[in-house]
């Protein structure tokens, strides 16, 4: 059964599949808000390309655009990341259980030898 959380995580993962978008997210996670122009000045891509990536991140609900005078500033929204983190946490917990089971089984095998 897949859940609404899985669907949200899917959108987040798709948005983060692109290295430039991950760089934008990383930058916004460090420094509050930024404009498309300021991001383009920091990265080896054009302003138009940055604007396109910001559009994709907005569509995934990962950033919001806030008008500030004549500029538009972008800011991260944490909620969808929480869904992705949830996927990672639950997947990690399942692997912890499996490896504990494997360890237990090997201990039994060694004990029985």
């Amino acid at each position: 059964m897949s859940t609404p959380q899985d669907a949200v995580a899917g959108v987040v993962f798709a948005a983060l599949a692109d290295p430039t978008r991950r760089a934008v997210v990383r930058r916004l996670s460090q420094g509050g808000t930024a404009t498309a122009s300021s991001l383009a000045a920091e990265m080896p891509v054009t302003r138009q390309a940055i604007a396109k990536h910001l559009g994709a991140l907005r569509a995934a609900g990962l950033v919001v655009a806030e008008p500030a005078g004549r500029e538009v500033r972008y800011r991260l929204t944490p909620a969808p990341f929480a869904e992705a983190m949830l996927w990672m946490a639950s997947t990690g917990a399942r692997w912890d259980e499996r490896l504990a089971r494997l360890e237990q089984r090997l201990a039994q095998r060694t004990g029985g030898a």
Partner: protein
Amino acid sequence: MRATMELHDDRPLVEECLAVRRELVLPFPRDEAWPLLGEPEELETWYAEEVDLEIREGARGTVRLAEGERDALVEEVVPGRRLALHLTDPDDPAAGTLVELTLDDVAEGTRLVVVELPLHALPPAPAAPPATPQLSAALR
């Protein structure tokens, strides 16, 4: 770590962001550890509740996990070294994951490294496999 990055060029960045990675050192040599990955009956003792899948590259089947049944495709098998499975939820084919199990030699025996990451995160495959003639016919 390098061994887990062979399938997709963009893996280091994707792994940094999204992959779940775990390790366990097994106290015996790699050739003795391999059946734990390479034999369905052994996988059923620790990984899955049921493995109806031949461990051969390109084989398709099903794997029943604690969280539900998954359609499985064996993406890569390097005997003694590595198994990669592409798992999809039949209720939501878009929600797939790639599971890689790798064995490395270490002083204490063998290190098992597991990596799971969502397939949404991977760059698109170079070419999608064509639909089978039966499937194409069924869709017409």
